[in-house]
Structures are given as structure tokens and as C-alpha cells.
Symmetry: C2
Subunit: 418 residues, 2 copies
């Protein structure tokens, strides 16, 4: 690629703040506070160059820099208990589409079990020709596959929870990883499905024995039994040593610590698909088995609690759809009056986070910015008003509304709902 | 996808061990030691279901299960010092193509500096119109990109180092991640290149002030200034807060802890491109500036120190090429006499690890298995004999020979070179 054909704006645009540059540039249009000329000579030799650094990794698993100690999962404060609770991915601090395992959101219903993989078993029974009990070694002998997919809690955020400060507060119950495991279809075929098989009831080996009914069509499509995430074995918080992954479906169905698959003709109507994880509608009825996570997006930079300067600012964020590929993301920098197509970072993968970006020169005046995702089915992410016009305000799950960020004259960014 | 059109072999093949299944199957062709029938009832409730598990992540960065404590970077034993040393990615324990940051290989020349990002500066000077000194905040204001690429040390392995036991011992100086940063071309354009600019001399802020000369063509092509790896900020071992990434080039050129880019007409002829990182040839001359990492592959499962059972075993591994896409990987299960095309896991990305797989039914007889990568230029990974016929044995760097694994009648897998 040559110097000229990369589609980027002309030289020396990015650090030239709007008003600041015109008034105070030292050289070449550079704002003095952001990039300075170096004629005065190189910076001092920092102290970290004057002494040897730390030894090569001393038989431990690596960790981030101490200067990043604030980048951790976002755990709600002052809960009555933390056994059935969640933590959120710090989306506003992350780049790209891969969520590192140490920062991937969690949701537990009976705490995180400490499972010895040598003693873990998966039982497959019910409407099968040959019931099976498999060890982890058995499961790792099957043909494997790896796929990059998002995973998202269906309550991300709940309809009442629009008062968060950060992107993580609002939609941090999502992450994206490269998952490796066995196609669930392969294991079900090993047992042999009987013709009347319609559901697979999955049970976790946690203290809640979390149970969900999985429709057979999904189990025979892209569903996986996963043992690795981002190269390494699943973390305990993600279901070590074995979980289901139903790409694009609400996260609760991707049962962790998987110990049992009971093949049935009817769903189990478990707690997690009756008392919970149903959608209360305005007319008093409830939608059940609303599996698919609809298209959603959020701007992660700039986002709540961040502060920007006038001039060039890249707008970037993530989009995803449980129905497949993201076709487009549109961004508004004028509170929804006009929309521009953002660039999508390749690779754009089905049921994975997709990173979008839009160059933006902020004029320093207060405004509201927001994004909306459009998926391959043509579905367009709705505004909160449009969503609640249909769904009402009794719902908790499956809120995929547009998230607006307010930008003040000071450059401070805050939640546009609040 | 239906039950039948997924291209997998017929039901109940995978757990049916060859000889073992014929002799001892309980039901449905299952080897008794690997998958057993469940008519006797479900397994006992394990103790981890009887008590609540651990609380949701308590304000810390997550870590792997204690049962995976042996999966760490592979650090050589009994070195005289560990400041200028390396650690290797545990390839045989990993799946997919993403290397988690906690396990990514390291190579340091003066230890790992502990850099405060607020005080870090990047100076760009030499043959530029406007010298610049940039803060990390400045760098993060430029337009960003994310790309999945491998990074590999050029001495992976050295020509003399073929006696390792594991895949990590042999070629563990490689990893693959999603990198986010700014195109180097964008930053150079901000400074303005003078017409005579031909090289960019990059200097690290470590105690070694590691210095390499980067050809301008690469700097204006796909080179990046990287601040994030797999979503989060670079680890200290990977150059926190800023490094160069030259996709496909030898790892040493992707200068870590980057503090200076000096644009020049000639290379610097630094230590790392004269005394080191040149290739001694049989005629006594040395090749210099051999930047590109040629196509390579290795089978990671089964691989050295692992043990397999007769019957179905998936062969899987990784392939990569500094010249672009992997077009094909061929696998031999008969010591190189015949070769079969392996399946490549999508997405296949340029200058990234590519996961390959081949189903294999092992008959229990001793053999040797190996893989060879073919890249989009048509280049075929050579045998060690073919490589040394050209390169001799005086070289240390750029050994991309085929790695054979010996499979004994016992199922034990060992280094086929040893």
C-alpha cells in the first residue's frame, strides 16, 4: 500500500485541535498541549531505561501492568449477596473485538464451583439410542471447531437500568471470544437421537443446577460444547471445564459447568424459563423462549465518564446481532437528526462483536452522539422510545435500545438517558 | 444446518477405539474406558454442587482454574541470567488461533521495564518536516485499527535446538493476537516524511534501548503502532504502553516500549541487525535484513509428551506465513510418504495463525506424523534436510523446517528429530 492510497485524511489533521490549533499552534498546526515539536531535543532518558527491567516471566501466568489495575470487571456495589450476581466487561477500556478472559463478564446463580476436570462427567440420556457418560478426555477426542462469537446476558441492560455512568454500566454484560469445542450435534449423534427428540435439557454442575431447555434445531446447528476460550481452557467463571455455547442466543442458555443433557419431547419449564427469563408485555401476558439477542450497538469511545477535546476524535464502538452478521452501523453526532455509515473493521464474523469507527471533528458545541446497528436480516436497532412503544416498561430482558451519549461544552461525556 | 449435511462421519465413530472397541464395547461400539453407557443411572452428585460456589469476581482481574496451574509460559531452566532471555507459548495446551496474553511468549534484551504511561513519550525525528513528541493520549487520538496477526521470534527454533520435548520447546516463540493501534503511516504522515526517507530507526525504552531499522516500505504498508492486545492494553512483557508491530516480519523488529522513531536514509546497523539477527551461510557470508518469517506449521495435538489411544484421533495444529495467507496445510501420517490436505478453520487471515485439522484413525502401529504449510505465494514449508542443504548448519535464525512427531506403539508421542 502506498503512502497515498490508504483512504486516510491528509497529513497533520489528527492532532490539530479545532479552535486550539488556530490560536496556539507551535508548528504545523499542532495544538501545543497535544503533540509538541521536538526541535528542543529529545525527551530525557526515563529512569526505567537506566536499570535492568524485570526478569523473563518466572513460571507464573502473566498479568496486566500495575498502571492498568483499575481495568477490572465492574461489580455492583452493596448487593445483599454475591452468589447469584453478575460482573460486567469494562467495555469503555477495551479495543478490538476480543474480550480478554480476565475481563469477561460473569453471571452466576449459585456461585462459581471449583470443579476437578478429572472427576467431571457429562451424561447424555433421555430420547437417545445409547445413553452416554463422557469424561473430559472423551470429549476432547471428538473433532473440534473454533469460532469467534459474542455471548450476552439477556438483561443487558434491564429496562429499568438506564442510569449507568459508563458503557460497562449500561451494556457490559457482553463479551466476545474465540471458543473451541465439539459440535453439540456430533455428541448427540454419538448417542443417537430418537425421532421424537425436540428439546435438550441442559444442567450445570453448580449449586443452582442451572437448567435450560435448548431447542433441538439449534442443538443440531451451530451449538458447541466448549472447553476452551481464547486459546486456553475455560475460566471457572465461564464454566470450566465444559459449557454449552448457543451462538446468538441469550447467555443463560449457554449452560456452564455442563453435566447433563436430557433429550426430551417437551421443554423442562425450568425456573430459568418460567419465573425468570421471560418478557412481561404491556397486556399482562409474557413472552417465553425469546432466545435470540437482537441487533445492538454502543459507542465505547467517547463514552460516559470520558472527556474529549475539540478537534479530531475517532468515534468507535461495538455492534452485534444474534441473527448473524452486522451489515452496517450508523452513527449520529447530532442527537439522531442525521446518520452516517461507520466503517466496519474486518473480519466481520457472524454472531461476533463487530468494531465500528467513524472519524469526527468535534466543534466544541454540546451535542448527543449515538449508534445503531443493522444486521443481515435488515433489522435496525430501535430507539428506547420505539422499543417501549411495543414492549412497554414491565419487561426486564431483551432491551436492545440505542444508547445516546451527551457531550457537554467541557468535553465531558455522560449518559444521554440520565 | 441439518443433522446430515455437516460433513462429519457417521454416528458413533469417534469414541469407538480400534482394537479396544471390537473387543470390549459395552454398547453401540463404545470402548469401555472412553465413554460408557448410562443405563446404571446418572453419576453421583459431585461435592461442588452441594455447597454454594465462589462469589462473583471480587474486584480482581480473573485467572485460570487452579487445575490449569501447569499451563504457563515455558521458561528455560538454569540460564545464567533472565534479563536477556525468552519464554515460550505452551502451544500444546492451546486451542484455536488466539494466544491469551498471560501465555504469550516473551523475549527481552534488558528485562521488562515498568513504564508509567502518563510519562511515556514517542519522539519522531530525522528526515521529517516537523519533529514530534507525542504522549499516549496523543497517540490514542489518531484513527485506530485492529488486526489479528501472529508474532514470532526469528530464532524459533535455532538450528541447533531440535531436541525439545514439546511443541512449545520447539516453536513456542510464536503467538497470535488481535492488535489495536494506529497505522504507523498515519503518524509518519503527521510528521511529514522528507523525500529521502528510506528507513525508520525504532528504539525501545528498555535498559537495552533495543534498536532496529525498519524499511520505509513496510512502515507505509501494514505496520502499526500498537497499544492494545486482545482487547486490553499491552502487557508489560509485550511493550506496554506502546510497541511497533510489523506483521509477518521477525519479532525483534516489532520494537517494544517504543520511545523513538528516527527517520533516516540508511539503516542504523544496530547490534540487533549486525552481531545478531543475521543468517550465517555455508560459504562464510551472512545474510542481513532477512525480515520475513517464511511459512511454517506444527502439529500441536498429538505432540511431544502427549499419549494417544488407538482409534479416532483428531490431528490439529497451527500454520502461518509472513508472506500472507495460508493456502493449504498438508499432513502426513506415514513419515512423509503420502500427504493429505487438512481442513483450515475459518477465518483464515493474512499473517495470522491458521488452525488446521485432519481426522485420523490410528491403527496402533508406530509411525511418524508431520505437517507442512503452503502459503498464498505457493511456497512450501521445507524439510530440515532441504532447508539445511541450502542454509547449512551455521545459521541460528529463520529455521522453518517441518517438525516430525514419532508415535510409539504405546501411543507415546516424541520428537521425531531426537
Amino acid at each position: 500500500m502506498s503512502h497515498d492510497d490508504d483512504g486516510l485524511p491528509a497529513r497533520r489533521r489528527f492532532l490539530a485541535g479545532g479552535a486550539a490549533a488556530a490560536a496556539g499552534a507551535l508548528t504545523g498546526g499542532l495544538a501545543p498541549s497535544r503533540g509538541r515539536a521536538a526541535e528542543a531535543g529529545p525527551p530525557d532518558i526515563p529512569e526505567w531505561m537506566k536499570v535492568p527491567g524485570a526478569d523473563v516471566g518466572s513460571q507464573t501466568y502473566g498479568t496486566p501492568s500495575r498502571f492498568e489495575s483499575g481495568v477490572i470487571r465492574n461489580v455492583p456495589q452493596r448487593l445483599k449477596q454475591y452468589l447469584s450476581a453478575s460482573s460486567r466487561t469494562p467495555l469503555q477500556d477495551l479495543d478490538g473485538i476480543i474480550t480478554p478472559n480476565g475481563l469477561f463478564y460473569e453471571r452466576h446463580h449459585g456461585g462459581v464451583p471449583d470443579i476437578d476436570p478429572a472427576r467431571h462427567r457429562l451424561m447424555i440420556h433421555g430420547l437417545v439410542e445409547t445413553p452416554l457418560i463422557l469424561t473430559m478426555d472423551d470429549i476432547r477426542r471428538f473433532p473440534s471447531e473454533s469460532h469467534i462469537h459474542f455471548l450476552e446476558c439477556s438483561g443487558n441492560p434491564g429496562f429499568e437500568a438506564l442510569n449507568g455512568r459508563t458503557a460497562s454500566d449500561l451494556v457490559g454484560l457482553v463479551g466476545c471470544a474465540e471458543w473451541t469445542g465439539v459440535r453439540l450435534a456430533t455428541v448427540l449423534r454419538e448417542a443417537g437421537l430418537k425421532p421424537e427428540a425436540r428439546w435438550v435439557v441442559a444442567e450445570g454442575a453448580d449449586a443452582a443446577a442451572l437448567t435450560r431447555s435448548l431447542p433441538i434445531e439449534k442443538c443440531l446447528d451451530d451449538a458447541l460444547l466448549v472447553y476452551s476460550q481464547n486459546g486456553e481452557r475455560l475460566r471457572p467463571q465461564q464454566g470450566y471445564p465444559l459449557r454449552v455455547l448457543l451462538p446468538g442466543f441469550e447467555g443463560n442458555m449457554s449452560v456452564k459447568w455442563l453435566r447433563r443433557l436430557n433429550v426430551t419431547a417437551e421443554p423442562a419449564y425450568s425456573r430459568e424459563e418460567t419465573a425468570k427469563y421471560t418478557d412481561s408485555m404491556p397486556d399482562g401476558t409474557a413472552r417465553q423462549f425469546t432466545f435470540v439477542m437482537e441487533a445492538k450497538s454502543i459507542i465505547t469511545r467517547p463514552s460516559g465518564t470520558q472527556r474529549i477535546a475539540a478537534g479530531f476524535n475517532e468515534i468507535t464502538g461495538i455492534a452485534w446481532s444474534g441473527r448473524g452478521l452486522i451489515r452496517a452501523v450508523e452513527v449520529s453526532v447530532d442527537d439522531g437528526r442525521t446518520w452516517q455509515a461507520a466503517a466496519l473493521q474486518a473480519p466481520v464474523l457472524t454472531r461476533a462483536l463487530t468494531r465500528f469507527r467513524l472519524p469526527w471533528t468535534w466543534d466544541g458545541r454540546p451535542t448527543v452522539i449515538m449508534s445503531r446497528a443493522i444486521d443481515e436480516t435488515g433489522y435496525v436497532q430501535p430507539s428506547f422510545a420505539a422499543l417501549t412503544a411495543v414492549r412497554g416498561l414491565k419487561s426486564f430482558y431483551h432491551n436492545n435500545a440505542i444508547v445516546p451519549w451527551r457531550v457537554a461544552a467541557s468535553g465531558e461525556v455522560t449518559n444521554g438517558y440520565a
